[in-house]
Amino acid sequence: MTDPVLSVKNLSITYTVGAGTFQAVVDVSLDIQPGRVIGIVGETGCGKSTLAQAIPRLLPEPPASIGSGSITFRGTDLVKVTRRQMPMVRGTGIAMIFQEPLNSLNPSYRIFDQMVEAIQIRHYRELGIVKTFQGGDRPFDYSKRPTPDVASTLARPVLPGGAAEEEVRTRIMSRSEFREEVLKCLRLVRINDPETILNLYPHELSGGMRQRIMIAMALSEKPALLIADEPTSALDVTIQAQVLTLMKDLIDEVHASILFISHDLGVIAETADEVGVMYAGRVVEYGPVDEVFRSPRHPYTKMLLAAAPRKYKADGPLRSIPGNVPNLSRPPSGCRFHPRCPLARPVCKGENPPLAVVDPVVGDSPRGAHRSACYFPEEVPSMP
């Protein structure tokens, strides 16, 4: 097995608001292997967006603070990286697509000016003109072109057309070359008349268009890791479907390592290879998408799947999970789901159950891939 692009270990994040503290993320660990798509699902407020923003250290600190754990990206612990060094990790290292396409573009600049910035940063780093990220036990210097096999382990995405696009540039690109590059990225996200779009301001574009531009911008950086934080949630259903189809196509084309955050089970089922289910700041179940969705081994996952609306009136009234998401300033003892869980027993109130390996049911999934943080995973399939 190759080294993971990103490895999060025992990460805990708390918010300090006034006198109270909220444990938004507790003891979360996950690995992203090169070229894999990892999905994170959960309800609003379960800490999935906090997790996503903590990886590139975008959380405002304070009020947020990383209590413990490590975020190892290409051999460097991002928790220990200084504020000054962090911009060098973002962009070509980690790119991100945000939830709110309407507000994610600067209203004062034309699309071209905003997109070209991302490409310029990548280009200058490749040429070694601007400082690049070096630090940690395994420094990565963006100015050195990766050799082919290194490229595959780092899973550097390539634009359609493959290697031909990856010609080595040794001089600074001209403005028209930058323009070409921007146009190429806009075509990549299936924008029909990119020349017109270039000169428009964000307020002149629809939400779906803006999200495509955000995706194009993230991909233009050729990041090693792409974090998509609910990229389709703020769009209406038809646009959502278009953007999702686009993202699925792009995932196949760019072979990037992707962390895909969503509250929509269907979206995760269609895009991700592996999925982590989060509840109240903890990962309660983790495994291959087919495994987790076809035979969930945590009562929360099972009830979440049952609560998802399928077809109009096809399966009777909508089911919901009784109770409320716990207050994270005073979380319940032991398993955080026990007050709402039909399988709960006294043991659940004591120690928090560890994320333990469960037996695979579907196909040839490797043993050890599917884990559940429940004391009674074998009882979950027979739950009503």
Binding site: P56, L58, P60, R83, R84, P87, M88, V89, R90, G91, T92, G93, A95, M96, F98, E100, N103, S104, L105, N106, P107, S108, Y109, E117, A118, I121, R125, Y201, H203, E204, M214, M217, E221
Partner: protein, 341 residues
């Protein structure tokens, strides 16, 4: 979409047309305030003048007030703005004093922009921490300083200490080149006279700094407030996510949007700057309209000059209105969501 260059010309043209009634209103107010509130106007205006002047004056004020106003308007348009009691014509003097004041105000505005706005950014960046408090102490001490005190302290202590001139526009009473624009630095540049350019700039530094220091608070404060509004927004986060350094995130992405508010407020402070020139110009012997206003109202034991005082009021009012107009236009230019119509 209402934002082509031709739309901009129409937009500016319309704003200029809107200026006409405003200026007319200013003239009406000034005229009636000065002509209706004094009992024996001729004695008040010309206490030391000869028999002839008083006779002329009484002949004119015995006419109906509207006729007087019409005559006044015609004279105003013709450039016949009256004279001081020593016989100096108001209009030619003001025409050469206004550019000197504009130069001083622009220099102060320049300092407010290049110092005050970055200070606001720093205050927002370190809000609630030491940097913020230091900046607040700095701008509040400026805001709290009375103009006369700041000007005198600068002229008496700061100038000699720093070796900066505290008197006039140049080291010699008149420069050896024609004063085409009556802006000291610009004239020296037009004449191609480098020593005099340096001389003129060094004379400009102290008065402009005093004026800027006293009025800077508003620029810093507005920038800080609107930066704090902009910084948590999503596009600042996405700029950061591109890998831009904090400098570019702050000054290219956040400040560009925060500036829209600051610009509008800077237009409003033009009034404060203009009234500040009255004291600053007198202290630094700057031959501008502020100094003229000071002597026209009898400051420093001079003989009052009523015609001059009325002219100054009109000029200051026009100055404030034009400054607001420029701020208004800049607002439209800076914010791409504003349509020019």
């Amino acid at each position: 979409m209402g934002r082509s260059p031709s739309d901009l010309i129409v937009f500016i043209g319309k704003r200029l047309l809107q200026l006409v009634p405003v200026i007319f209103g200013v003239i009406v107010l000034t005229f009636f305030f000065t002509h209706l509130n004094v009992g024996n106007i001729c004695n008040a205006w010309y206490p030391h003048a000869g028999e002839g002047t008083i006779k002329n004056c009484e002949a004119s004020i015995n006419q109906p007030i509207l006729n007087q106003f019409a005559t006044y308007l015609v004279n105003l348009v013709e450039g016949n703005w009256g004279q001081s009691q020593s016989g100096v014509l108001v209009y030619p003097y003001i025409a050469s004093a206004v550019p000197a004041t504009i130069e001083l105000v622009l220099a102060a505005l320049f300092l407010m922009v290049v110092v005050g706005i970055p200070l606001g950014v720093i205050a927002a960046q370190y809000s609630g921490r030491w940097g913020d408090h230091l900046v607040r102490i700095f701008y509040l001490s400026g805001w709290a300083t009375p103009t006369y005190l700041g000007a005198v302290v600068a002229a008496v202590f700061l100038g000699p200490y720093l070796g900066l001139p505290t008197h006039g526009e140049y080291s010699t009473p008149t420069p050896p080149f024609p004063q085409v624009t009556h802006m000291s630095v610009l004239d020296a540049i037009i004449a191609g006279n480098l020593p005099y350019t340096v001389d003129a700039i060094s004379h400009l530094i102290l008065p402009a700094t005093v004026l800027a220091f006293i009025n800077m608070g508003i620029a810093t404060r507005m920038t800080r407030a609107s930066m704090l509004e902009v910084l948590p927004l999503d596009y600042v986060r996405s700029a950061r996510m591109k890998g831009l350094t904090e400098f570019w995130v702050m000054y290219k992405h956040a400040l560009r949007n925060a500036l829209i508010t600051t610009t509008t407020v800077l237009g409003v402070t033009a009034g404060g700057l203009l009234s500040g020139t009255v004291v600053v110009e007198e202290v630094f012997d700057w031959p501008g309209i502020g100094q003229y206003a000071y002597t026209a109202i009898g400051g420093g034991g001079s003989v009052p000059n009523y015609d001059g005082a009325i002219a100054v009021v009109i000029i200051f009012a026009i100055g404030v209105v034009v400054a607001n107009l420029i701020a208004d236009i800049l607002y439209g230019v800076l914010d791409p969501r504003v349509e020019w119509r």
